[in-house]
Amino acid sequence: MLTIKNLHASVEEGHEILKGLNLGVKAGEVHAIMGPNGSGKSTLASVLAGKDGYEVTGGSVDFDGVDLLDLEAEDRAKEGLFLAFQYPVEIPGVSNINFLRTAINEIREYRKEDKMSAKDFLAKVKTASNLVELDSKLASRAVNVGFSGGEKKRNEIFQMAMLEPKLAILDETDSGLDIDALRIVSEGVNKLRSEGRSIILITHYQRLLEYIQPDFVHVLNDGKIIKTGTKELALELEEKGYDWINEEIAQ
């Protein structure tokens, strides 16, 4: 599904953040990427999603046979990539429903599929908003405007359910969520797990991984993945912090 080889990326001012990152994600797998602040987690999400302001200086990213780095942000989404934002953007005057309809129609056009009928679209909105217990009123309100922190994160997963990506990157979706909201969001994500869909969870905290069980846990530090393990690694990190890994490597 996703093969990242020796990825190097800098912010435009020239400071290198990703320093030779390798990662392989197969269809249906859930990978967690953990790491301390400033290790490059969010940069990785931004570089994969195609945000302006980053320069890829080396390496490659293959997404189901497509050179991901060669695509505009919108075409990456059309190829089946989805990023749940750490800080979802408020967009006054643009309704959730309206923009998702535009998105779905543009994605379908790109894939040479027929437009979705209004009836099918509304049915999908209903299913997707139930999935994360998103109030149907919020679905039709302006994107994220006046939403609480938890509602914004639920809205991200609602959009994921609407767009049905092949690969979803959840960038600190758990941050700022209380225990109830975390449960709701996690259950939503779990229901969206499928054989054909891969998920990358970027997180600081192990508690998300109690709800969404990953197949692999990676530790990102200083722009590289320095350790890979199973979900037990996350527990170890929670207990011991990150420093022991560096010490282990030094030895």
Binding site: A49, G50, K51, D52, E72, A73, E74, R76, A77, K78, F82, L83, F85, P88, V89, E90, I91, P92, G93, V94, N98, F99, L100, T102, A103, I104, E106, I107, Y110, A142, V143, Q159, L163
Partner: protein, 418 residues
């Protein structure tokens, strides 16, 4: 002997037809013009709007016909009053059966009543040229305690080059009446022509008047409108001004609130491209207590277009408990577009709630990225954001048929869907 005219205004009007009957209003306007000059940018009110090159031109007053089908709005089901080059064309007009509405020629307006009503209000050289040389227009009455059965659609068309259209209208919304006037402005093959329209009215006690104005003239004409409305106590006045047309537009709108418990609302949307110039000048003059006013203008400027907003709210000394809200927000879509925004509050009373604000910005890049990350192209993302920005102004147009017409216009002209 050759007559040398050193007065630019008299030179400007020298070829205009002298009216057959010199009414009092015409005479006052003619007299006033003798001492007038065109405004330069040294005049504060015209600081950002330069009219010199337009008033050097010679314009002609010529009657013409037009294909009215092009300008009728589907499903509006309105009284349709047609003005071509400033002449009222009754043959093209359709007045429906409506016991609440009477439509007469502007010359039927009682001059004593009119002079009393507008006494003390300000004129400018363009409104005076209109009043001195007007070639037609209507005096519309909405009858006391009646609701107009149909909206009144005033269709203005410029036909032909170098034409001046001096239409003058007056709307009298009698006590307790309710009505909607839609004024649209169009042009056809009319390079270097000039719409110089005056629209005035009186909203009597407990009356409610809504005006929707849509100006979509071609980008090779000059459009100057002067609007003056007087509100009596407990009246409601709403005017929505939507401008996408003309090379240079100056919308001058004054509302004098002469009674308590009034509500005044003015909204505007202006969308400039290429090198269009769009100037909205508004005044709300609160003379009595317990009134509210709400003003919201939004501009989206692209290309090398220039927007100007100057909104003044005056709260007179005896006008207590006034709540006045004013806002002007602008988005620049290009580096070469610009907006000059000047909100003004003049408050002489001490118990009032007034707020005003003005912003000029660009589209939110984070929002564009967010939309793109969902598979929406950059162009569609911008379109969604612009529509989202201006949408709340368009939502003030409650008439569904007109709104559909505006949506179609925006889709065709800008590719913006709502």
């Amino acid at each position: 002997m050759e007559l040398v005219l050193d007065n630019k205004v008299l030179e400007f009007v020298s070829d205009f037809k002298k009216p057959e009957t010199i009414s009092k209003v015409r005479k006052q306007a003619l007299d006033a013009l003798t001492g007038m000059d065109f405004p330069t940018t040294r005049v504060e009110e015209w600081k950002y709007t330069r009219v010199a090159k337009y008033v050097k031109r010679k314009y002609k007053q010529t009657q013409a016909s037009t294909n009215i089908e092009e300008y009728a709005i589907a499903d509006l089901n309105a009284h349709q009053l047609v003005f071509v080059n400033g002449y009222y064309d009754e043959s093209l007009s359709t007045i429906l059966d409506d016991d609440a509405v009477s439509v007469q020629k502007i010359d039927e307006l009682d001059e004593e009543y009119y002079s009393d009503l507008v006494d003390g209000t300000e004129e400018n050289v363009f409104s005076l040229i209109n009043k001195a040389y007007q070639t037609g227009g209507v005096f519309i009455q909405i009858k006391k305690n009646k609701k107009a059965n149909h909206p009144i659609h005033m269709i203005h068309v410029l036909e032909g080059e170098e034409v001046i259209a001096n239409a003058r209208h007056f709307v009298l919304a009698e006590n307790g009446s309710k009505s909607e006037v839609i004024a649209t402005f169009h042009s056809k093959n009319s390079a270097n022509s000039f719409t110089n329209v005056v629209l005035e009215g009186h909203v009597e006690s407990n009356a409610s008047l809504t005006i929707n104005k849509l100006q979509t003239e071609a980008k090779d004409v000059l459009h100057i409108s002067n609007e003056l409305f007087v509100q009596d106590e407990s009246s409601n006045f709403l005017i929505n001004t939507i401008t996408t047309g003309a090379q240079l537009t100056r919308n001058g709108l004054d509302v004098i609130v002469e009674g308590e418990n009034c509500h005044t609302e003015m909204n505007g949307a202006y969308l400039g491209t290429e090198n269009q110039h769009m100037d909205n000048h508004t005044l709300i003059d609160q003379l009595y207590s317990n009134c509210t006013s709400s003003e919201s203008y939004k501009g989206v400027m692209d290309g090398k277009s220039v927007g100007v907003f100057n909104g003044k709210v005056i709260v007179r000394q005896d006008a207590q408990k006034i709540a006045a809200y004013q806002s002007n927000k602008n988005i620049l879509l290009s580096k070469t577009a610009s907006v000059n925004s000047k909100p003004e509050l003049e408050i002489y009373a001490d118990d009032v709630r007034c707020s005003h604000g003005s912003t000029i910005g660009e589209l939110d890049q984070e929002a564009i990225y967010y939309l793109r990350s969902r598979g929406i192209s950059a162009a569609s993302a911008k379109q969604l954001l612009v529509a989202g920005f201006i949408g709340d102004i368009l939502d003030k147009v409650e008439n569904e048929a007109l709104r559909a017409d505006i949506d179609e216009l925006f889709l065709n002209d800008f590719g913006w869907k709502f």
